[in-house]
Subunit: 366 residues, 2 copies
C-alpha cells in the first residue's frame, strides 16, 4: 500500500509555541499562478538620498527635527506612534456602549471589554547607507544593531509602566514598509501583547509537564535532526520550524537558555549578528532579489516578574515570497476563516535555503 | 482633567469570540502614507471573457473540461485542491524526524505533532457574468448563491469523513484572488479548523457561564446600541464588531439562534442575500472602487456532534483597504509579532459605512 508522504499528502502540523495548527498542502505548489505580481524594489538607490527622512542630516517627517550625521545606528521617537507615554486613565467602555440606557447593559459589561494602553514607539536606523539591507551589511555593522536593540530593551524595561518591549522590522514595500532605508521599530507597551503571551503560556505548560524549557529542547532536537536546519553557530541555530506558516519562515533560537537580549555575552551578540547576516543573505539569494519579511525578537517581558524559566530568546522571520521575486503567498480566505495553510513542507523550504549561498548575489556579480 | 477618549487614546479591545486582544490607535490614521499603492482592478471587463476559465462554456484550467452554459451559480471541483478525498492513512512523524536515531526521540514525540487531513475543495461561480461582483448583483441573484452554499453544505456534511465545511470568498487581486470572475470557494475538511474551533470554545464557555448564546446576546446588544450597526433586516444584523481588526471589518449575525445555513427558512435566505447585497454595495461606495475582501461563513461543524447550543450562524467580512482605493492596512511587523493593531475605531468605521449609499456608485453614474 502507498505510504503517507509528507511531501505529497495534506496534513496539519501543531505549533507548540502558540498552541495552534497549520494546514500543509505540499502538492499545491504545482498550481499555475495568474494572480497579483509584486513589484520588486528597484536596486538603483543611491547610498545617500536627500529626500529620505531617515538618511543622516536630513529633515524628519514632522519637519522640525534633523537627523544627526550618524555613522552606525540611530534611534529616534516614531513621529506617528501607535501608543503614547501620556494619556488619560481608562475609565470603562460606557461611552462606546449606549448600553446603560437600555436592557442590554449586562451584556455590554460582558462583551465590550477594553483597557487603555500607554507606551512609546521608536525607529531604529540600522545604517547610514540608504541603499543596503542587513543582507549586505557586515557582521560588525549588524553587531551595532544588536547592541542598539539590547541597550533600548534595557532602557525601556526600566520604565515602570512598560511591560513588554517589542523589537521588529518590516522590510520591503510588500510588507507595508514605506521607506527602503534599512530600519526597524521598537514598540514598548504597558501590556504584554497576544503573541508573546501565548508563547509564555505554552512555555510554562511545557516546563510544568517536562521540567525543561520548550525552546532549549527544540533547539537541541533540530540541531540533532538537521532536516529543518538552515545554519548555525556556537550560540544560535536558524531553522524552518516544523510548524512554519510562511513559505520560508525561519526561527532563530539561542542554543543556551537565555531570556532576553541584554543577557547575551559579547561573543553571543557577535553570533546573533552572524546568524542574521547569513539568513538574510540566503533569503536574498533564493530569488535573487531583496527578500521582503517581517522580523521580530521575542524574549522576557519587563513586567517585574521572574521570566527566567518561561522565556527563551528567539527571533521570528516571516517572509511572504512563495514562487518568485514577484509572487507571494496570500494568507487570505481559508487562512483567515479556517487556519493558516502552506504550499511546501518546512523540510523542503529548509533544503532550498541550505542550498543558497552566504555570499550576496550582488557581490558575486562584481 | 482630560477624559479618556476612544477616538483619540490608544486602547485594546477584547474579542470574546476568539478570546484575544486587538490594539486600537485611532490617532494614527493621521500619519502620511508613502508606501505601497495597490492597483485597483480595471472596470472595463467584458460580460463574457473568452479567456476566463470560469465563464460559461469556456475550458477550465486543466484543459479537458468545459463549463456548462450555466445561468445562475455553478459549482465544480477545484483543479488544485489543498486537500484530497483519498490519500494514505497518516502514520506518524518519524520520517520528518530523524529523532529515532538519536537521543532526542522523546522531544520529537512531544514537539513534532502532525495529523493527516483529507477533504475536498470546490469553486462556486456566483454568476455567469464576468464583470460584476455581489455588490452589483440583485438580491434574487445573491439568493441563488445562498441556496447553493446551503445545498453544498448539506451534501458535504453527509460525508462521514467531513467534519467542517468552510465557505469563503477571496475578492480582488490584493486578496490573492487570481480571477476577477465572481466566485468563492468551499473547503470541506476532516478536521474542524482553528478559527471555528476557537469560536466554539468561547461560545461553550459563555453558555456555561451565562446560560445564553454569545452571538444571540451580541446581536441583541448591537441592535439596541446602534453605534456599530451598519444595516439590518428582520433576520440579520451587520455590524463593525467592537473588536474589529481590519479597518472596515464587519460581522453579519443571524438575529435568531440558528446553527447553520440549511436551517434558514426561505424568507431568512432572502434576508441574508439582502444583507450581503447591501454591505458589499456600501463597501464599493466607501472609496468608489471594487472593494477587495475575504469573506467566510461560520456555522456548526458537521462532525456528528450536537452543535445547536455552541454554534450560531455568522459571516465575517475582512476588507483590507484603509485610506483609499489604493492604500490598504498592512498587518505586518507588530501585528505579526505582537498583536493586531488598527488605526480607527469600530464606531468610526461603522459611521462611515452607514453614510454610504446602498445604490452602487456605477449605477448612479448612468
Ligand atoms: O485557491 P486560490 O484562489 O488559487 O488561492 C487563494 O486562496 C487560497 C485560500 O484562501 C489561499 O490559500 C491562496 O494563498 C490564495 O492565493
Ligand atoms: O509604522 P509604519 O512603518 O509606518 O507602518 C507599518 O508598520 C506598522 C507596525 O508593524 C503597521 O501597523 C502598519 O500597518 C505598517 O504599514
Amino acid at each position: 500500500a502507498e505510504q503517507f508522504d509528507f511531501t505529497d499528502h495534506s496534513h496539519r502540523r501543531w505549533n507548540p509555541l502558540t498552541e495552534s495548527w497549520v494546514l500543509c498542502s505540499p502538492h499545491r505548489a504545482k498550481r499555475p499562478w495568474q494572480g497579483q505580481q509584486e513589484k520588486s524594489t528597484a536596486d538603483d538607490r543611491p547610498e545617500y538620498d536627500p529626500k529620505c527622512y531617515l538618511c543622516p542630516t536630513n529633515t524628519r517627517v514632522g519637519g522640525d527635527v534633523s537627523n544627526p550625521p550618524y555613522e552606525a545606528t540611530y534611534v529616534f521617537p516614531n513621529d506617528f506612534p501607535a501608543v503614547k507615554k501620556v494619556q488619560p486613565a481608562f475609565s470603562g467602555t460606557s461611552d462606546v456602549a449606549n448600553g446603560s440606557d437600555c436592557d442590554v447593559a449586562d451584556i455590554a459589561d460582558d462583551l465590550l471589554r477594553a483597557e487603555g494602553v500607554r507606551g512609546q514607539c521608536s525607529v531604529v536606523c540600522f545604517s547610514p547607507k540608504h541603499n543596503i539591507a542587513m543582507a549586505q551589511m557586515s557582521t560588525d555593522a549588524i553587531k551595532h544593531v544588536v547592541d542598539t536593540w539590547a541597550r533600548e530593551y534595557t532602557e525601556l524595561s526600566k520604565l515602570d509602566y512598560i511591560n513588554y518591549v517589542q523589537i521588529f522590522e518590516n522590510k520591503g514595500a510588500v510588507m507595508g514598509c514605506s521607506n527602503p532605508h534599512p530600519h526597524g521599530q521598537i514598540w514598548a507597551l504597558e501590556d504584554v501583547p497576544e503573541e508573546p503571551s501565548k508563547e509564555i503560556r505554552a512555555m510554562k505548560k511545557y516546563r510544568a509537564a517536562k521540567g525543561r524549557c520548550l525552546l532549549c529542547d527544540y533547539a537541541k532536537l533540530e540541531t540533532a535532526d538537521r532536516s529543518r536546519l538552515v545554519c548555525e553557530n556556537d550560540s544560535f541555530v536558524c531553522v524552518v520550524p516544523f510548524w512554519a506558516v510562511w513559505p520560508y519562515e525561519t526561527l532563530i533560537v539561542a542554543k543556551h537558555h537565555v531570556a532576553s537580549l541584554p543577557q547575551l555575552s559579547e561573543a553571543q551578540r557577535v553570533d546573533l549578528a552572524d546568524i542574521l547576516r547569513r539568513i538574510t543573505c540566503r533569503y536574498d539569494n533564493v530569488f535573487e532579489c531583496s527578500f521582503p519579511y517581517s522580523m521580530g525578537v521575542h524574549g522576557a517581558p519587563s513586567d517585574g516578574k521572574d521570566h527566567s524559566e518561561d522565556s527563551h530568546l528567539h527571533l521570528h522571520m516571516y517572509p511572504p515570497l512563495l514562487r518568485s521575486a514577484s509572487v507571494k503567498k496570500f494568507l487570505v480566505g481559508f487562512e483567515m476563516m479556517g487556519e493558516p495553510q502552506r504550499d511546501l513542507t518546512s523540510e523542503q523550504a529548509a533544503e532550498r535555503l541550505r542550498a543558497c549561498s552566504e555570499i550576496h548575489y550582488t557581490a558575486k556579480d562584481k
